[in-house]
C-alpha cells in the first residue's frame, strides 16, 4: 500500500522548474565551497602565524629606530626616543616588552691579535639581557673585570668571511675561532685610555649591533663619559606577532622603522586576508542568490499546485503535513550538498597541507572546527529560509 507522502508525490508535482532547482543547487554548492575555503584559509593562515610548530624565533623581536631623513641630518637629538615616545610604544597592545638600546658614550678601538692586522674604530651597545638570543654563562661582567664579553651580529661575521676576507686575501674564520680569539679593546675618552680584553661569546641574529653587558655599559659610560643617562635612539620590542598590520601602521604613523624583512610578512597577510575576504564575500552573495532561487522555486511549486493543495486541505490534510512533505522533498538535497562541499574542502585541505609540508609549513590536514561550524550554520540558514517560505506560501494559499 502506498504511503500518504507517496500519494502526495503524485498530486504535488515538484518537477516544475527542475532545471532552475538544479542550477540553484549547483549555486548553493559553489557558494558553500567558497565560504568554506575562505574559512579554512583563514584557519590555516592563523595556524601558520601562531602555531608553535611554525614559530621562527627571530619573528618575536623588532629593533626600532626613527627614520633618518635629510632634514634631520646633523641634529642627532631628533632621532632620539623621548621618555614619552617610549611610554607610548610600551602602551601599544601588541608590544609585550620594550628594551632600550644604550649606546656607548666613549671611543672604542678594537684590534685583532697576532697576524690578522685588524684594527677598527667601533662602538658598543647594550640591551637588557632578556632581549638577547645568546644564552651563555660567560655573558656577565662585574666591576673590576678586565675581560668584556661581546656579542657580534651574525651578519658581521658573514660580511667579513664572504666579503672582506676574500677581497683582502685574508683567511676566513669560523665562529669557534672568533670565540677563541682574544680581542684587544681600547676604550678612551679625551683624557684617559685603557685596554681591555674582548671575548666574543656569541653571535646574534636578533640585534644587529656590537653588544656588551648592560652592567659594563653603565659602568663604562659613567667612568668615561660621566653620565649614565644616555639618550636612546634604538629600542627593541618583543611582540607576539610582527606581521600584525596594527603594528606596521603604528610604526608608519610615528615615522619609525624596523627590520623591514620581518614586516614584509604583514603585507602578505593583508593580501591574503583581502583575497580570503573577497572569496568569502562572493560566496555569501552566491549563497544569497541560491536562497532566493530556492524560495522562488518553492513558491512556484506551491503556486502551480494551488488547486490541489486547496483540495487536500479541504479533505483534512493539516498544513503541517503539507509542510513536512514539501521540506522532505528539498531538505535532504541541501544536506547532501553541504556534506559534499565539506568533503571537497577536506580533500583540498589535505592536499594543501601536503604541499605546505614540503615548505616546512605545518597546517592540520583536516578542516578546522570553524569550517565545520560554518557548514552547519549555512545549512541551518538554508533550512530556516525553506521552512519560512513553505509556511508562508502554504498558509497564504488557503
Amino acid at each position: 500500500m502506498q504511503s500518504f507522502f507517496a500519494l502526495l508525490r503524485k498530486i504535488i508535482r515538484t518537477g516544475v522548474g527542475k532545471g532552475r532547482f538544479f542550477m540553484a543547487s549547483i549555486g548553493l554548492g559553489i557558494a558553500m565551497v567558497l565560504i568554506l575555503i575562505a574559512l579554512q584559509a583563514n584557519t590555516d593562515f592563523n595556524q601558520l602565524l601562531y602555531s608553535d610548530k611554525n614559530q621562527n624565533e627571530t619573528a618575536d623581536f623588532l629593533v626600532i629606530n626613527k627614520k633618518v631623513t635629510n632634514s634631520m641630518m646633523g641634529q642627532p637629538e631628533k632621532s632620539v626616543f623621548s621618555p614619552t615616545d617610549i611610554e607610548n610604544v610600551r602602551k601599544q597592545p601588541f608590544v609585550q616588552a620594550v628594551g632600550l638600546i644604550t649606546s656607548s658614550q666613549f671611543k672604542v678601538v678594537a684590534q685583532a691579535p697576532g697576524e690578522l692586522h685588524f684594527a677598527t674604530d667601533m662602538f658598543f651597545e647594550a640591551v637588557p639581557d632578556s632581549f638577547i638570543d645568546v644564552k651563555e654563562d660567560d655573558w656577565k661582567w662585574n666591576p673590576g673585570d678586565r675581560t668584556i664579553p661581546i656579542i657580534l651580529p651574525n651578519d658581521f661575521l658573514n660580511l667579513y668571511n664572504f666579503g672582506f676576507s676574500l677581497s683582502q686575501n685574508l683567511p676566513q674564520i669560523s665562529q669557534e675561532t672568533v670565540k677563541a680569539l682574544p680581542l684587544q679593546v681600547v676604550i678612551s675618552n679625551n683624557l684617559v685610555s685603557e685596554t681591555y680584553t674582548g671575548h666574543i661569546v656569541g653571535f646574534s641574529d636578533r640585534i644587529s649591533s656590537f653588544l656588551v653587558p648592560a652592567t659594563f655599559m653603565n659602568w663604562a659610560n659613567e667612568k668615561y663619559a660621566g653620565t649614565t643617562t644616555a639618550a636612546t635612539s634604538r629600542i627593541v620590542i618583543k611582540t607576539a606577532d610582527p606581521s600584525n598590520p596594527a603594528l606596521v601602521k603604528f610604526l608608519d604613523d610615528n615615522g619609525y622603522t624596523a627590520n623591514q624583512d620581518k614586516l614584509k610578512f604583514s603585507k602578505t597577510r593583508v593580501i591574503v586576508q583581502t583575497i580570503v575576504s573577497v572569496i568569502g564575500f562572493f560566496g555569501l552573495i552566491l549563497l544569497l542568490f541560491a536562497l532566493l532561487v530556492f524560495s522562488m522555486f518553492i513558491q512556484l511549486v506551491i503556486a502551480s499546485c494551488r488547486k490541489e493543495i486547496q483540495l487536500l486541505v479541504t479533505l483534512g490534510t493539516a498544513p503541517r503535513q503539507l509542510q513536512r512533505y514539501l521540506l522532505k522533498q528539498f531538505v535532504p538535497l541541501y544536506f547532501i550538498i553541504g556534506i559534499l562541499s565539506l568533503v571537497l574542502v577536506t580533500i583540498l585541505q589535505y592536499f594543501a597541507a601536503g604541499l605546505l609540508a614540503k615548505h616546512d609549513m605545518v597546517v592540520n590536514p583536516l578542516p578546522g572546527i570553524g569550517t565545520i561550524i560554518g557548514t552547519v550554520l549555512i545549512l541551518v540558514l538554508v533550512y530556516i529560509v525553506n521552512v519560512s517560505t513553505v509556511r508562508r506560501y502554504i498558509l497564504q494559499d488557503q
Binding site: 500500500m1 500519494l7 490541489e308 486541505v313 479541504t314 483534512g316
Partner: protein, 216 residues
C-alpha cells in the same frame, strides 16, 4: 459532537431568503449527535452553500456555525484539519476527486492521511464490492463515469472516523439499485460509529429512516 446554527444567513442570498419562510436560514437550530437529518431544498435555495458553511470552506455568512459550542472561526488550521480527519466527513455534490490519481488512490489518500488508518485495506475492497466499483478501482478517476465517481466519493467519505457526515445530493447520478446499496452502507457505517448525518437533496426520499426533516 453538537452542531448548532445561530441565525445563519448567506450574504449573497440574504434578500431572497428574507422574503420567504425557511426552516434553517436565520433560525437557531441544534443538530443532536447521532441523528439522521434530511434537509430538503429546491434548486437555488442555498443547499450546497449550507453544506460548505457546515464544512467550513465558505465563510460569506452572517450568524454562526458552532461546533461543540465554539464557532468555526475559533478553530485554527491544524485543529480544523484534525476535525476533518477525525470527526467530520463529507460527500460533495461536485465530488472533488483527484483526476491524477486512480479511484483506489483517491480512497487511499483519505485513508492514510491519518497516520493510524481507521479502515483496513480489506474493508475498502469490501465496500467497493458492495457498491459495484471493484472493477474500476485501478482506473484513473478521470476515465470514470459520474455515477462511478460518486460511489468512489462515498467510499472515500466512509474510510475515516467521523461523528458527522455531510452529504450534498449523494445519489444524484445513481440508479435505484445502487442508491439503495449506497444508502444501506452509509447507514451501517454511521451506526457502527454512532454518528449522525446531514443530507441535503431536492426531493422527498425513503433512503434512510430520518430522525429530523427540514425545509430549506
Amino acid at each position: 459532537m453538537q452542531i448548532q446554527l445561530d441565525h445563519l444567513l448567506p450574504v449573497p442570498l440574504k434578500d431572497k431568503i428574507l422574503q420567504r419562510k425557511s426552516g434553517i436560514w436565520n433560525e437557531n437550530i441544534q443538530f443532536n449527535p447521532g441523528s439522521f437529518v434530511k434537509i430538503k431544498a429546491p434548486s437555488g435555495t442555498g443547499k450546497t452553500t449550507l453544506v460548505h458553511y457546515l464544512y467550513h470552506i465558505r465563510y460569506d455568512y452572517t450568524g454562526s456555525v458552532l461546533i461543540d459550542g465554539k464557532p468555526w472561526s475559533g478553530y485554527n488550521r491544524n485543529e480544523t484539519a484534525s476535525l476533518r480527519q477525525q470527526k467530520i466527513s463529507v460527500i460533495f455534490q461536485d465530488l472533488r476527486l483527484f483526476e491524477q490519481l486512480t479511484a483506489l488512490e483517491n480512497i487511499e489518500l483519505k485513508r492514510v492521511m491519518n497516520s493510524q488508518p481507521y479502515c483496513t485495506v480489506e474493508k475498502v475492497q469490501e465496500m467497493a464490492a458492495r457498491l459495484n466499483v471493484t472493477h474500476v478501482l485501478n482506473q484513473s478517476s478521470k476515465t470514470l463515469s459520474y455515477g462511478e465517481r460518486q460511489r468512489i466519493a462515498i467510499i472515500r467519505a466512509l474510510v475515516q472516523p467521523f461523528e458527522w457526515l455531510f452529504m450534498d445530493e449523494p445519489f444524484s447520478h445513481l440508479d435505484e439499485d445502487n442508491t439503495s446499496r449506497a444508502a444501506a452502507l452509509i447507514a451501517e457505517e454511521c451506526k457502527t460509529r454512532n454518528a449522525g448525518f446531514i443530507l441535503t437533496d431536492l426531493d422527498h426520499d425513503q433512503h434512510f429512516d430520518y430522525d429530523v426533516l427540514y425545509q430549506l
